[in-house]
């Protein structure tokens, strides 16, 4: 396996591209496993007539219709696959995404309590930025937009960098643990 990789790898880029391609193919096969998993779980529910079993039939029906058209008819424009995507899946994606507006509001209401200094800082920044980004904000305080922009450009960028550097170190250390065979919990061996 190693030799096969060596052969193709002149430069780092080629090397990892080829490996990633192999990986995506292996993962492509896993797709069938996924379909088996869904079918197994849903069919189990239907067979035992557990709660909500008719919905599982709907699920399976949709799954096989979509996959069937995708595989046999193709996925380009003008196909049934594309029609189903455009008219059913797409609006639902957009709606699910917009449900976030509600959830954000209720999360803000519940969680943003000035319990500690940290929480207070969080909620004040959030308010400044929210007001800074809408027309109404300027009437509340003229400089809100400028302050909001400044926060986004500097302190926020700094923290993002700190988190990225830290997380990259963590990820590198995790990779090294896997490479050295110390981290085996991903194989169920703690």
């Amino acid at each position: 396996m190693i030799i096969a990789f060596f052969g193709t790898g002149d430069t780092l880029a080629d090397f990892s591209n080829e490996a990633l391609r192999y990986m995506s193919i292996v993962a492509g096969f896993a797709l069938l496993l996924g379909v088996i998993s869904i079918t197994q779980v849903s069919a189990g529910v239907v067979r035992k007539r557990e709660k909500d079993w008719p919905y599982k039939i709907v699920l399976l029906l949709c799954l096989f219709t979509m996959a069937g058209f995708g595989i046999f008819q193709g996925i380009t424009s003008g196909t049934v696959f594309e029609w189903l995507f455009e008219n059913i899946q797409k609006p639902m994606m957009a709606t699910m995404f917009s449900v976030l507006a509600f959830f954000i509001a209720s999360a803000a209401y519940r969680a943003f309590r000035a319990r500690t200094v940290e929480a207070t800082i969080l909620l004040i920044t959030a308010i400044v930025v929210m007001l800074g980004r809408v027309p109404m904000g300027q009437y509340v305080y003229e400089d809100f937009p400028a302050v909001a922009n400044w926060i986004m450009m500097f302190p926020s960028v700094a923290v993002q960098r700190g988190i990225i550097i830290g997380a990259a170190l963590g990820a590198a250390s995790m990779s090294l643990r896997i490479i050295l065979g110390i981290e085996r919990t991903y194989m169920g061996r703690g």
């Binding site: 993962a27 996924g34 998993s37 869904i38 639902m92 999360a107 170190l169 090294l176 194989m187 703690g190």
Partner: protein, 276 residues
């Protein structure tokens, strides 16, 4: 161990082009320093030296949360992120899953693991199975424990949301990569009254987890979690090594900033840190 042989090949192979390309020398130095320091600390830990790591609140809560679910007779829901297997965060999530599955197996608490992509699902099935076998509870494992869902993040969120509303898990644990679905999932979970513990390295999603979950592991803490939970000395050793590298980086950064500020070979210093 196959992964091991495989990966040693990787490091050698990765090093070779680095040697050829002198403009990438800085990355090579970083790689070598990092590896040496981390391996040194792992060795020290393996010799049985006691190494201190400060406790992380979020992780202490994991066992507690599973305990509570057991008492209430309700399931534990675990999501190893919504990324594919090519993200190291997903693997971190799977590692944590292995340890959580041990606890649920021990207490015979039902475990639910909905997964967004097929490959992490295949991995998760193996991880959970091994954990249950290790605890001698293989017969408690059911096919619906680890299930594949959807392959698209919003339908996944809808499905997981539905699952939370109907199965009412007592503890929800989210560990791995998350995107816009973070709040969609955790807010529904919050409404069902479950204890929620999250961890991700995505800076954009952290505020939402902080708002909707009881405990949140931030960035680097996610990767450290499996070391903490396993309490294995070698794993903890790697954390120590990682910390030392962090300190080295901070000092290099300070030195570099001073050099740039006072104009001591500024171009050269910036060049030292340029990734090619």
């Amino acid at each position: 161990m196959l992964a091991w042989v495989d990966s040693v090949g990787w490091v050698i192979a990765a090093g070779v082009p680095g040697l050829i390309r002198t403009d990438r020398l800085n990355a090579l130095v970083l790689l070598i320093v990092f590896s040496i320091v981390v391996i040194y600390f792992i060795r020290r830990a393996a010799r049985g030296e006691k190494l201190y790591v400060r406790p992380l609140a979020g992780l202490q809560a994991v066992e507690e949360a599973v305990g509570r679910a057991t008492e209430m007779g309700k399931p534990v829901l675990f999501i190893p992120g919504t990324g594919d297997i090519d993200e190291i965060q997903t693997i971190a999530g799977l590692s944590i899953l292995g340890l959580v599955a041990k606890v649920t197996a021990r207490y015979e608490t039902p475990l639910l693991v909905p997964v967004l992509y097929p490959m992490p699902m295949a991995a998760a099935q193996e991880v959970v199975r091994e954990s249950y076998i290790d605890e001698g509870k293989a017969d408690h494992l059911r096919p619906e424990t680890v299930q594949y869902i959807a392959g698209e993040s919003f339908s996944y969120s809808a499905r997981v949301g539905g699952m939370m509303l109907r199965e009412k898990p007592a503890a929800n644990i989210f560990m791995g990569t998350f995107h816009a679905e973070s709040l969609l999932i955790s807010e529904v979970g919050q409404s069902t009254g479950a204890i929620q513990i999250a961890g991700t390295a995505e800076p954009e999603q952290l505020p939402f987890f902080i708002a909707a979950c009881d405990y949140t592991l931030i960035g680097e803490e996610l990767y450290a979690a499996s070391a903490y939970l396993s309490q294995e000395s070698k794993m903890l050793g790697s954390l120590k090594g990682q910390d030392l590298v962090k300190m080295i980086i901070i000092f290099c950064l300070l030195a570099g900033i001073l050099a740039v500020t006072f104009g001591v070979y500024p171009e050269f210093v910036v060049d030292l840190f340029t990734a090619n």
